[in-house]
């Protein structure tokens, strides 16, 4: 979905994260987060810290989906302090298919998106697919 013309700059910046991931450019996505990024997730390690942690998070999704997972933006809401992006994430593995709505919340800091909450709506489906 294209960005509305009135979208907040933080929302515009966040929009570039899933767009970069969707084209396979994880490095471009990582540049939106500071070195001391904190990433809260409901599965796996629960809290991923730093670029290394974030790389592990993305790497796990790649590994479990054979590189098929794709985020598609439904909507981005932003302010000077916070941003929320609603994503539909799909992935496939053998005969399994995942299609789940995810909300990614983030605080806006000088070096990028500092604290991040990554929330699949259907956590059961997410865990069954990604473990």
């Amino acid at each position: 979905m294209s960005a509305p013309t009135t979208e907040h700059p933080a929302a515009v910046s966040m929009r570039e994260v899933p767009e970069a991931v969707a084209r396979g450019d994880i490095q471009a996505a990582m540049e939106k987060f500071p070195e001391d990024v904190i990433w809260y997730a409901p599965a796996g390690e629960s809290v991923y810290r730093g670029h290394d942690g974030l790389a592990r998070f993305f790497g796990h999704l790649d590994e479990r989906s054979n590189g098929t997972w794709r985020p598609e933006i439904e909507e981005v809401l932003g302010s000077d302090r916070h941003v929320v992006v609603f994503l539909r994430i799909t992935a496939e593995r053998d005969d399994e298919r995942l299609d789940v709505l995810v909300a990614h919340f983030a605080t806006v800091g000088p070096g990028g998106f500092t604290r991040n909450w990554f929330l699949p709506s259907d956590l059961g489906a997410w865990k069954r697919f990604f473990g």
């Binding site: 929320v84 909300a103 929330l119």
Partner: protein, 121 residues
């Protein structure tokens, strides 16, 4: 959110769609999916009752459109000598009338949430 904090479930009810789905994450006795307005209200009443009415949310910021809402909520509560003090990211899907059709959330310290509710029945 304010209605929940003050135990005003009548007001909370007015925001819920008939077929609302409420996902409670984590690994504790209240975790699970609650389907329908009545089940969600029962869950909310039970959580507030178990916390002795101390479960309180102080929204830091609410970002909303006509389709979605995101709440950065500072949650505090006390129960049996335990305290809860977390930032909860709360996501909502809205229907055409602005009623909540789906809710899900994640805390910055999910382990603290699990420990707080441990042992309830």
């Amino acid at each position: 959110m304010e209605a929940f904090s003050r135990g005003d479930f009548e007001t909370l009810e007015s925001y819920l769609a008939d077929d609302v789905v409420w996902h409670v994450g984590g690994d504790h006795p209240l975790s699970g999916d609650y389907h329908g307005r009545d089940a969600v209200l029962d869950y909310c009443r039970k959580a507030q009752e178990l916390a002795g009415g101390t479960l309180h949310g102080e929204p830091i910021e609410i970002l909303a459109s006509d389709r979605h809402a995101g709440v950065f909520n500072h949650i505090t509560a006390e129960r049996d000598g335990k305290t809860l003090d977390i930032i909860l990211a709360q996501a909502l899907k809205l229907d055409a009338k602005g009623r909540w059709t789906e809710y899900w959330a994640l805390a910055d310290e999910q382990g603290a949430v699990d420990a707080f509710w441990a042992g309830v029945s």
